[in-house]
Symmetry: none
Subunit: 241 residues, 4 copies
Amino acid sequence: MAKQRPSARRGDDRRRSWLERVRPLIASQVGDPSLVERRYGELIAAAARLFQEKGFDRTTIDDIAGRLNISVGAIYRYVERKEDILLLTLARTLWRFQKLGPPPPDGDPAQRLRELIRRYYRVIAADAPSTLLAYRESYVLRGEARQLTKDMELETNRAFEAVLRDGIARGAFRRCRVEVVTYDIVMLGHMWALKRWYLGRLVDLDAYIAEQTDFILSALSRRRGSGERRDRSLPRIPRRV
Amino acid sequence: MAKQRPSARRGDDRRRSWLERVRPLIASQVGDPSLVERRYGELIAAAARLFQEKGFDRTTIDDIAGRLNISVGAIYRYVERKEDILLLTLARTLWRFQKLGPPPPDGDPAQRLRELIRRYYRVIAADAPSTLLAYRESYVLRGEARQLTKDMELETNRAFEAVLRDGIARGAFRRCRVEVVTYDIVMLGHMWALKRWYLGRLVDLDAYIAEQTDFILSALSRRRGSGERRDRSLPRIPRRV
Amino acid sequence: MAKQRPSARRGDDRRRSWLERVRPLIASQVGDPSLVERRYGELIAAAARLFQEKGFDRTTIDDIAGRLNISVGAIYRYVERKEDILLLTLARTLWRFQKLGPPPPDGDPAQRLRELIRRYYRVIAADAPSTLLAYRESYVLRGEARQLTKDMELETNRAFEAVLRDGIARGAFRRCRVEVVTYDIVMLGHMWALKRWYLGRLVDLDAYIAEQTDFILSALSRRRGSGERRDRSLPRIPRRV
Amino acid sequence: MAKQRPSARRGDDRRRSWLERVRPLIASQVGDPSLVERRYGELIAAAARLFQEKGFDRTTIDDIAGRLNISVGAIYRYVERKEDILLLTLARTLWRFQKLGPPPPDGDPAQRLRELIRRYYRVIAADAPSTLLAYRESYVLRGEARQLTKDMELETNRAFEAVLRDGIARGAFRRCRVEVVTYDIVMLGHMWALKRWYLGRLVDLDAYIAEQTDFILSALSRRRGSGERRDRSLPRIPRRV
DNA sequence: AATGAATGAGCATTCATTCAT
DNA sequence: GATGAATGAATGCTCATTCAT
């Protein structure tokens, strides 16, 4: 017990904390936590696919129950309403990014960013339909559930933010508004999922990652001469109130 | 035919061609084209708002009829099914980008791109909810209707493509896969609509445009030394089948 | 037009005012008032029977629709929820008492009371199951609807109150707490409906009315000697706060 | 057997006989009678409250189990169906009147009746919601269960019948149809529960009892002259077939 | 004896679409 | 052309009851 491997332990912590984030928002009537976790997994597997194919509103509880060979009543012992299943699905999707693994080893900021982008984009590509689903159906969620998805997205962004700030501090990247550029990088990852109907005909994933990595690193490169706006003092950029 | 006023003609062409694109997909029972056009406009105005607020599936025909002070039966004389109204709405949204106005004046490619970005991003910001709607509800459309929205989006991209290709040809921009970078630029515009819940708290539109313009132009700048990958021969990048 | 008979007019007023009492509580989607009135009548006829037989909660909308040879959707164009049908039913039942006709002619208070009792009890007996229904299912209604049924019941009681007060003022009846005795009379009428499973085996309606009339008039008679409590000053009877 | 303390014995008899009346109608799977009796008591306590608040049909077995901190399965070991719990509840309510205590001491019939009324009305007032419940939900019971509640109500009435008959025989009360007048007295007691929403605002319980006692005794008083209908021969009153 | 997860028929309500007027 | 009442299949959710543990 005393000598658990840190990585295994962290993995465990992470899985647990995913449930911990979601469960308080979903009133389950079933007590046994391991059963609940199993059922959640089954629900996600079945529902994610259906939601992707037909959309949330066009997927019925009967569809989900049928695919799981379970009764509708059984589903409602684990969730209170249909939206809860969507929350489960989206939370699991967003959580994948927490599994990007140990942060890239120290070293050249550009290399660290490259690696982070590669991992992040690969996670997206591994399940593009889920990313699409998140864009399409997030609006269905309200209140705390909606907030949770937003929070989880922003938390994921933090890894990029850290690398960017470090790179800027070390003079490897040009100065920029880090929050915006962070989202640029994230967005260009999501783009693979959002526009795959077009991009997929042009390039494969590796080429896409290479292209976007070039684009991003080039955008961050410090330029000679007038490249970087001299007069720009970040703090003075007007914030919108 | 020869002496129509250019401006009137262009405006007319454009409006007509929007209808021309959409009408063959929508079986209206009403003959009078100007009446149809008027009703389409009313439908779009009412439905767009409702779809944005509640989503397509959660908006009823009664909602739309009620907002228009028209009968449900009347609506069904102009469209065949509910999805047609969505098509109308999305087509109108996508059409806004055709109105970017006269192409930027010849000159420095960077200046032309700057100007194009500025206009494009402003159009998005002028009606962010519609962009959001397009991302959320496009999947509802099937067949030709879905294809039309894709085509219209790609057509809009052409203006960026042209400027990029010109800039590369003239050595102002680094070499890159133009279709991808085009979509990057477009995507970072959509991002203002998609992530405004976050970005809107950080920057205002002008700052956003400035930041992204810097980002994009920096990404396109030719760099000293190894910045541009020497060994890269674009045509050899494997296409995905 | 100018010379409508008063009675006919009053009858008309009354029917209208019944609708006027109920309609503001029921959001109907149908405009045509005469159609609404007709449908309300049909709904009441079908639902009252079903509610009496099986109870409100055990009667389904399908039952009602089936009995009316109407679609469920049609019902929901006239009412917003199932409870509305119950309100309709109870309101109609309570309204029957407004039709007791012109108040008994002036004369001996005992005679007027006798006549009022006779009429009131006959109305109950004419549709005992509805009275039973009111006792059983009123609790289902909430808010304004519940209040309306209470108000209508109390309004009916007023006729008895007036006769009692008049009789007491004229020395024909002993002094008593009029509101309580009023409800006694009303209650002994309801009793015919509530306990008919027992009473119906013992007496017929006329005998019942005769018996109860004797009971009530005897109870109200002024007695010699100690019959009427001398020391009792009505105003001093403690009111419950 | 001979030397049990009277009080203990009576209490025991009564409790036992209540169970004896109900148990044959309820198939319990549990053998131990004292356990069954305890569970019945718990069920009644929990269910009565819930039935009063939400009605029988709107109270779920889960509600009851939850309130008792017992499993639904456990409940179904003591009763066969949900209706059994209602029977239990109503039987207990009706049984309260068996506990009116030793019959009023011999003496003046009016005094005995006064005392009986006082006790009976107090029992009702002590748990008015249960009386309301009986009126509302009795119809749910069918067959023997329904009959049992009717029988128990009529048995309670017997005490009043006896006093009335005695009073009439001794010339203290006027002649009347005893069964009807008995129910009048009972009904005016129930009225406190049924119309408390109105009466409770006018009088307190003691005033109510005083008022009704006056009303009833006055109704039973023999009057001078034509007060009592001479020509009336009770046996000839037509019975309803 | 007790538990509580599972079942699945049942129900209120919605809403796209039709069609008689 | 326009109206709006009617249709009825569809759907989310409930809950009495069962039964394996």
